[in-house]
Each structure stands twice: as structure tokens, then as C-alpha cells.
Symmetry: D2
Subunit: 284 residues, 4 copies
Amino acid sequence: MQKITILIHCKDRPNIIATVTNFIAQKDGNIVYIDQHVDREQNIFFMRLESEFTKESFSADVFRDAFKNTLAEAFDMKWRIYSSARKPKMALFISKYDHCLYDLLGRYNSGELNLEIPFIISNHLDLKPIADSFKIPFFHVPVTKDTKKEAEQKQLELLEEYQIDFIVLARYMQIISPKLIERYPNKIINIHHSFLPAFVGAKPYHSAFKRGVKIIGATSHYVTEELDAGPIIDQGVTRVSHSHSIEDLIAKGRDLEKIVLANAVKLHTNRKVMVYNNKTVIFS
Amino acid sequence: MQKITILIHCKDRPNIIATVTNFIAQKDGNIVYIDQHVDREQNIFFMRLESEFTKESFSADVFRDAFKNTLAEAFDMKWRIYSSARKPKMALFISKYDHCLYDLLGRYNSGELNLEIPFIISNHLDLKPIADSFKIPFFHVPVTKDTKKEAEQKQLELLEEYQIDFIVLARYMQIISPKLIERYPNKIINIHHSFLPAFVGAKPYHSAFKRGVKIIGATSHYVTEELDAGPIIDQGVTRVSHSHSIEDLIAKGRDLEKIVLANAVKLHTNRKVMVYNNKTVIFS
Amino acid sequence: MQKITILIHCKDRPNIIATVTNFIAQKDGNIVYIDQHVDREQNIFFMRLESEFTKESFSADVFRDAFKNTLAEAFDMKWRIYSSARKPKMALFISKYDHCLYDLLGRYNSGELNLEIPFIISNHLDLKPIADSFKIPFFHVPVTKDTKKEAEQKQLELLEEYQIDFIVLARYMQIISPKLIERYPNKIINIHHSFLPAFVGAKPYHSAFKRGVKIIGATSHYVTEELDAGPIIDQGVTRVSHSHSIEDLIAKGRDLEKIVLANAVKLHTNRKVMVYNNKTVIFS
Amino acid sequence: MQKITILIHCKDRPNIIATVTNFIAQKDGNIVYIDQHVDREQNIFFMRLESEFTKESFSADVFRDAFKNTLAEAFDMKWRIYSSARKPKMALFISKYDHCLYDLLGRYNSGELNLEIPFIISNHLDLKPIADSFKIPFFHVPVTKDTKKEAEQKQLELLEEYQIDFIVLARYMQIISPKLIERYPNKIINIHHSFLPAFVGAKPYHSAFKRGVKIIGATSHYVTEELDAGPIIDQGVTRVSHSHSIEDLIAKGRDLEKIVLANAVKLHTNRKVMVYNNKTVIFS
């Protein structure tokens, strides 16, 4: 049996659902999940389907072609079709903070994540021992003003060589270059340590402390060229009070960051995220 | 244009979705919402559809018959079909607590609720002035050991006379009789002032205080014969601490009760709740 | 018996707590509540005490003088002393939205709020029937470009005449003049319908929708001259998703606004808020 | 400089606060934190103080004796005095689940926890590699029906030998013997994977799924002889829906368990928990 996940979006018009479900029935697929959303402001239709195919003769590639030539063109769809056969490959970019790294590697080792981690890249050597203890290849790619270009080149080569599907910035403290973003559109996940759009940029916990907010947050989002302004995948919050110092905010924030980033990784690898207009549709 | 909402559940088997969506397309309906759920433990399939019909000649009754005779029987479905034409009628049962009453009537007056309130029943006269100030008919139906039977009879007559669709117990402090429950199955909504199944029965805030919990809750559920054990529609929680007295818990709980009960009323009237096995499926 | 609440802040230095508690013991007071906070960044000390005095001869005025002449001057304190004898008087300013109004008046009638509401001011007549049904005096003070000055004068006169202690803007849709703010410093409570500092200004739900946030919020704060930038008293949040329209956000937001504003009113009237550096200390 | 933390509880009566703060001032201590709570139901007074002593001649032992002989006896106090000099020693008991273990060791390595972990005990060998990779001594103490007594003896010896202050059961799947509980009263912290008192005992996620709750929780508590009935330290909750399978509940629950257990460990080691009447007072 093969399981196929289909993500579609296109201009809304009548009969899309019936046509797509009919098409799958004709191919002897059984729909085990369907969810849809319509953005009434923009008149855009979104759908996520999971379908099981039990026939020996089923070929995901043949199905993909048929889907493209009939449905996708007729409805002018943007679409992606994933087979359950292949696990997505994730590259981890880190710097000196270890909490998200520990959290993701702990989940990975426990079998909680449906993915592979071919390697970790860091611009510092500090966290290499953690990568080692989890037996994940670690590449030190330092980034300075002068070596920026070479560093980026090195990163691209590694990503290519290991056939990486998406990148997770686990508190990686360097700006990602436009070239990398362009190469991995909506495939670079960042964790920002504030409740965006509040406190964009550096030192958000300091800003939150100064403003005297009563709730702090963390936001996972896809990286776009504008800093901290990409499509939001998940957000989490927790209460704070006047009695919390900046250090307390940072410590409480770490727990948010870990969970909000892990959620984003799971949603992404389970093919539950669709991006449009710098926003996300998150299917259940 | 007419809008039809269809709720279905039946044994899971292949091609239900394609068959139903195809049926609607044949009747010239446009599906504007579809969501489905499969309980894998029990192998039960659930679906909720909203469909728009623009043809002058469309008749909800004819559609209902066709659906019944073809689909429903073939798949052995339990199903309900609602037309947007008719607003559900809600009877409010109250006693002496006024917070849920104020909340629901405030929302009703603001136009937030898609329903009608033909009358309020209370076993006490205390809150009559509130009903009067909102200009809702108020019936005083006292309940004592000796008058229980007559009271129930009176309630049933009023519900019948005003063609009530569902009942909301807004902190109504009397046990509902089996006869009434049988007459309105999954149509009587109660608000219980605890995070069920913790603290079933009377005085849950006192029990919560005694146990020293750090979070309290409220639960809206359909009334069944077993006390506080019916299908849960919604739950809400809030943090408490050792510094809160029982009175503080009661005050904090009031805010939970208001919101959790209002949510249940909205979900019910928007046809987003399906009940099976003493549990609910809540569609988005 | 009289109950006195004391709020103090001053530069932090040794022995403040011992000196103050000693002073109260000398005056035969029994401390029933004490809490303190030190802002280590700014080196400021905050304290809140509740003390009971049972002697017939106790006079709050005499106590206040003694406190001022000995402690307050010695430690260069900013301080306030409240007697439980007097209930604070709150003026409600409203426009056309009724949800916060219904909520506050419902709580008021239920006896949940420790305050008096001498009157309601509105720049529109729409909500007068609600004020009438709750039997609260209603003053219509329209505000147009040309009548702004007179309107403000009228407001000030009413506030003066009724000896108002603090003002609550329950979705009042006019900018408060600097003169009014100056006259009631940290005594005007506003509810802003976003998670500040995100989405300052008009139409925050529209902005939240556009940005695609996964959580929305509401913020109660004291009004200062800079729009939506005053000291935050309380904040609340709730999850939203892509499936929520702007209207859904507005509806969900109403529940937040009601609770977050009511919390601020309770904290203010229970003398649990201290303001400094455009932030608040909120005692438990 | 030495920092002393004092925890007190006793029958409530006038002038306790003034007397204690005065005593500390006489010993040249500067109170940097004070918080108090009175349980009005039981008439019990609780206080937590932090005080700094800068004099060279200050001795914690001398202070402790003076406190005992004057204050503690006069007010019939239960009290504890901790010096900041000594870090508490925590023993970790585990079985086969690794998520809480990864989480605590990650925090420990990051320097987030103010404690030492002399060793880990497990009744299985499965997680030894994790202990090894974090370089923490690991003792395998299998527990079977027949070896229960010896296992307990072995545990007690290890706890004694390493001068353990408190024990954390990080999803340890064995019942703790009364002897161990008696030896470490309010010093054994357990994480239960439900929102207690709902779903006491085994398989709470299965019970939660069956009951159809809309929110699940986790509870950290001190272990007492009655199963899952000890004083609650912290609780956390998260929303679930009909779409979540039991496996989903377990996965979501893991995140709760990690945070709620880590919070309990921090509160305990920061001396912020007082226990009485099977409840806790948690200071800020």
C-alpha cells in the first residue's frame, strides 16, 4: 500500500472538491483524510487530501503525471504530491544556544520526528560535543564579514550533497543570505523569541521587559528576505509578571522556543502547511 | 440561494467522500465546506459539508428525500440535513446565578448568536427582573419534592408549545428528569463548574480548593442520565494558586463558565457538533 | 475595625521592610498582607501592605500624617494609603460597542465589583437603553471636530461634580485629551483590542488577520499621551487559525476584551497596581 | 556575603511579620525578599524571606540557633533555613521513557538548574546510553516481585552514600515503597501524566481519550503513600480534539510532562514550596 498526500491551492470555483475526489476514486484510491479552506477575502481555495492506493500496479509518478495533465491544468492549480515512502531530510543550523538543539535531538532519538538529520552546521564549535554525543555529523562553517561568501558557498554545497529538503535554524545567530532563501523557498524554518510582530529583531526579551508586557511569546516562521516577517507557522505564549527579570524571561522563553519550533518541524514534515500571501494554512 | 449543512456518520468504508461529493455535484450544489474525521479505534466515519444551491427549483425537502433514499440507505448512515432558512430556538433554564444569563443575553442582544430565545424558565423568581429588562418571556416553574412531576409536565408543555429545538441550563440547579432527557437527546446543554471528569457533582470549587489544584476549569456537555457524564462539547481552564480562597475560585470560575457555555451554544447552533459513543466530534 | 492598604515605592536600601513593619506594630496594627518587589535594574523598592486596626481611637488621618512625617520623608517614598471605608467611583465612557458595557454592568449588578458607577458618558445615543435598563445615569456628550473643546469641558465638569476616582474606556472610540489625562494620571483605564505592542492604533484585528498570526490578544492599560503606549495592567490571548475570518477574530476578541478589562478594573479598585517607568507592578 | 532563605509556618497571630523582620534587622541582615500567605480557612500563617548578611562574622549555624531559641519556639513555628552555599543533590529514577530524562539533563548541562545530579537509578538498562553520553553515573537496580526488598535496600544505600537531598521520578514505572517515602517526606517529586485528580492511576491518556475530554494535562506532585494523591506542585494543560488519537495525546502529553516536571524541580530547589494539609504554598 502507498499513501499519497496532496496539497492544492487555486482560485476558488464550483465543483473542485467533487472533481478531485472523483479523480482519486477513478484511480482506485481511498481518501482517508480531506480538509479544505477557502480564503473569502482573496477567493483562494486550499485542499489537503490523504489517499491510500492498494493496487500493486500503482505508481506515484504515473499518478502525478495524470493529476498534472488533467486536474492541475484545468483548474490552474498550485499543487504538491508527496509519497509516504520518502522521509524528509533536515539540516540543523546552530550557533551557541543549546536548548532547541537538545530538544530536537532528544525528540529525534525518541523516534518522535518523521525525518532524517544528515548533519548539523554551526558557525561556532561550542556545541560540537552535543552533536557528537548524538552521533550526528557536525560541520563547522564560521561566518565573518570577510568569509561570508565562502561560508554561504560551503553551506550550499553541503545542502546539495546531502540532498537536504529543509533547513531548521535552531537559534542560529546569522542572517541567512538571499541566495539561500531563494534556493529553499518556504523551506527554512526559524524560531524567533518573541510574539511576532511584536519585538522584531535583536534582544526581544529585553524589549519585552522594558515595555512591561504581561505575556511573552515565541514564533516559528519561514524565512523570507525581510527579517522576522515571513509566514508564521506556530506561536506560543506564557504569562510573566513584574517579578521576572530579563534572565527569567529568557529562561521561560526557552521552553516556548523549544515547543514552538518542534511543532513547526512536525507540521512541515507532515505536509500540513501551505503558504500563500505571506501567511500559512495549517491543516489539522 | 439556499445553504444546506449535512452531518453524516457511518461505518468507515472506501469511497464515501467521493460518492457524497459526487451526489451533491449532480444536484447542482457547490460544496463550500467539507471536513471529515475517522475514528480508527471504532472504525467510524464522520463528515460535515456545507453546500450552496442557487437554482430556483431547489427544494430542501426533495434533496433530503433523495439523499435518504440513495446515499443514506446504501451506506447505512446516521445523518442530519439543516437548511440555513430556520433559526434554532433555545429555551434557557436558570435558578439564582445570573452571570451566564447576563452573558448569553448580552451576546443575544448584540446579535452574536444565531438563534431565538422564546422564553426563560426558572425555579425561582430572583432573576425575573433581568429577563424583563431584556424583554424575554419568563416562566416561573418552582420545583419541590412534591411538585416535581407537575413541574416537569409544565416544562414539557412550554417546550412543545414554543417549538423549542434545544435547552441550555445556565447554572440551573435542579436535576433534569429522564423523561426530558429522552425527549431532547443531545439537545440539552449544561455548564459544569469543573474540569470534568475531575470534581463531578456538587461544590466542585470547594473540592478543587481542598485538593490544592493549580488549575481550575469549566465544562459544557450534553446532559445524559448519568450526572455530569455526558458528551463534552467544550472545556476551559485558568491558573489558580494557594493565594486564592474558595470565593476567588468561584469568581474566576464564573468567567470560564460564561465563555465555555457560550462556545457550546455557538457550536451547537452552527451544527458543528456530532455525538457518538458519549463523545463529540467538533468540526472547525 | 479599619483596614488600611499602603502602597510604597522608593529607592531600595537596607531595612525598609523592618522599619515599616515596626512602625505599624507600634501603632497597634496587625499586618495581614505584605508583598514586596525590587526592580534590580532600576534599584527601586515596592511594597504593598494591608493592616488591620481594631482600637476605637484609631484614625486613618492621624496614621497618614504620622506615616508621612516619619517614614515617608525619611525614605523619600512615593506612597498612598487607602482606607477600606470608601468605595472608589468609576465613570464609564462608551461609544457603540456594547460587549464590555454588558459585561461590566452584569458584574456590577452581581456584586462582583467593589466600586460605584455614578454615571455613563457616551458620544452616541445607541447604548442609552442598556444604561437605562441597568438604571445608571447616562450623559450624551457628542464629540465632533468643532465641539471637542466643549465636550471635554462637559466631561471634566461631570467627573468633578460626581467626585469620580477613575475612568474606564469601555471601547470608547475617541482620543482622550491631554488635559483629561493630566487630571487623572494612571486613573484612566483603556482596553485595546490587540496584544500590545503588536498592532497599535486602529483596526488591530484587520492587521492581525493580514499578518497571519496564530494567537490574538487584548490589553488593558493606563492611558498616557502616546497612543496605546501606557503602562500595561493585564493581557489575555487566544488561539486563532487560518480558518478564522476577520469577523471571527473580532468575535473571539470580544471575549478577551471583556475579561482583560474586568481584570484591570478589579486590580485597580483593589489597590493592587503600582505604576513606575511606564510599567506596572501587580501585587497578588 | 551569605544569602539565607527562611521558610516558616505557624498558627496565625498578630505581629509575626514585624517580629521576624525586626529579628533579622537586629542580626544586621537585609531582607531582599518577603512574601507571606495566610490560609484563612485553617488560620495558618506562611512566610518566605530571603536575607543577605555581609558581616564577616556571620555564621548560618549561630543564626539558626538564635532563630530557633527565640522566634521559633515563641511562635511554635515549623521552619527551615537554607544557606545559598550548598547546592541540593538530586537523584533521578527512570525506567524506559526518555523524554523527561533528555529534558532534565539538557537543562542541567545548560546550567539552568541549581543542583547536582550524583546519579541516575533505573530498573531497566535501556536508557543507560543517555546517562553515559551526559557522563552521569548510572545504577541498574532491577525490581521484580522477588527482589523488591533488596532493590529498595540498594536504593536507600545509594541515596545515603551520595547524600541525596531529593528524588525525582522521571516517569519511573514502579511504586515507591512506604519506607522510602517516610525517609524522604515531601522530597520525592513525581510527574503524573494527567490533570489530577482526573485519571488517577495507570494509562491516563487512554482514559482521557475514552472520556472525550477537550483538554489534557500533567501534574507534578510530592509522593505520598496514597497513589497520585500527594501535594500538587505544578500543573499544565493543552487543548486536544476528536482528531487526536491516543498516540497523539501521548505525544502532546510528553511536552507537558517535561515542562511541568522541570518547573517542580526548579521550585523545589529554589525553596519556593511549602507543604501543609496535603497542599502546597508556592511562593513567587
